[in-house]
Amino acid sequence: MEKPSEVVLFGTWSGSYCTRIKLALKLKGIPYEYVEEDLSNKSHLVIHYNPVHKKVPVLLYNGKAIAESLVILEYTDEQWNHAPKLLPEDPYERAKVRFWANFYDQKYKPSTYRVMTSKGKEQEIAIEDSYEVLKVFKEGIEKDFPRKSPLILNGDMFTLGFLDIVVGSSACNYKAVNEAVGVAQDPKKNTAFWSWVIAMKDCPLMKETLPPHDRLVAKIRSIFSHPPA
């Protein structure tokens, strides 16, 4: 078993990419030292260990640093390849998980970002676009992972898999996002996706790892300059 100081995670309390790594390490039962980074005043360590991007999360193991959340997740599954496995065993199933994780990060997340950073008419359009992207994601997941219900993927009610981590780490913050930005998710749209997100939010590991609601609301407001209503 690793001594805590052998595994170090540089992150922020609110960053969803960082939440991903915390979830993965906890699922695998890997003790780690957590270092909170102030992104307005980055430590020399983050710059040293991630000179290319100078971002968090960065995982350090035995002095070797890995950056980029999806890369770190795959590394975690391979370095500590005991159960629970984050990715499925079958190469075709793994391909489907990777495809949708990339879609979520490259298409859906940016669409939600545009919702958070726009106002008025522009925001209305951004919300519509985001629903459409989410629809593609939701329908794709249902087609590619037909046996899972309520879409807890590569896991059951007691564990989370790769895609649960990728999606849940940000989507489970929906209440805080909605409150901060003043936009509510339409419960009639993409209901299967939101059932999945709510089920994940209720999972004890997710509850203890997600950033606290009120702090997150204040943080999102300050980043996106949305004053309280």
Partner: protein
């Protein structure tokens, strides 16, 4: 066991070329299906409804899209001549650099080619900064994969044939041999590797294609500034 491997590609897509190289390096028999991307076939749209792009690998009727996803699938399904290293940390590094190559190197070099004026200058500066990281990564190695071509080499392979085409068309140096000696010699070694050399689109056709793309970009940017 009957194994059916099809690759949907176009004659020039650098992303599809990655899959050609991977299949050839591993000695996997496959059928290439050439798509006219201005007139996509119903099969392409059926196999990749989300992105409607090439490459698509279809293995025994099951489609996989997105070149990084396909490369990992190929490496996991056909274990000969591994593309990714065995060690988890080295694998993570390969994935990290592959992502960097697409997110940063490709986008900055493409901008340096397709943009004009100030935007082009800024893109050239960004490209040089990104290339510096790759140059550093190449120290002591013939290929990114070590002694032989691996995952990162395949992902970055477009640099070896496309950059000189870009440089010829716009009359600018993007990968200067003096500034990036290791990268420059990697480009020669990669392009000259038999499998790569035998699986590259014809240079004259590429020049025509990219000149046309540049002409269209210039035309649309000058009309929008009126």
């Amino acid at each position: 066991m009957g194994e059916e491997v099809k690759l949907f590609r176009s004659w020039s897509s650098p992303f599809a070329l990655r899959i050609v190289w991977a299949l050839e390096i591993k000695g996997i028999e496959y059928e290439a299906v050439f798509e006219d991307l201005s007139n996509k076939s119903p099969l392409l749209l059926q196999y990749n409804p989300v992105h409607k792009k090439v490459p698509i690998l279809v293995h025994n009727g099951r489609p996989i899209a997105e070149s990084f996803v396909i490369l990992e699938y190929i490496d996991e399904t056909w274990k000969q001549v591994p593309l990714l290293p065995e060690d988890p940390y080295e694998r993570a590094m390969a994935r990290f650099w592959a992502k960097f190559c697409d997110d940063k190197v490709l986008t900055s070099i493409w901008s340096a080619f397709i943009k004009q004026g100030k935007e082009q200058e800024e893109a050239l500066v960004a490209a040089a900064e990104n290339l510096k990281f790759l140059e550093k990564e190449m120290k002591g190695k013939k290929f990114f994969g070590g002694e032989r071509i691996g995952y990162v080499d395949i992902v970055l392979g477009w640099l070896a044939n496309l950059v000189s085409i870009f440089e010829e068309i716009v009359g600018l140096k993007i990968v200067d041999e003096g500034k990036f000696p290791l990268l420059y010699s990697w480009m020669q070694d990669f392009a000259e590797a038999p499998i790569i050399r035998d699986n590259c689109p014809p240079r004259d056709k590429m020049i025509v294609k990219f000149q046309a793309l540049l002409d269209a970009a210039i035309a649309s940017s000058s009309s929008s500034s009126k």
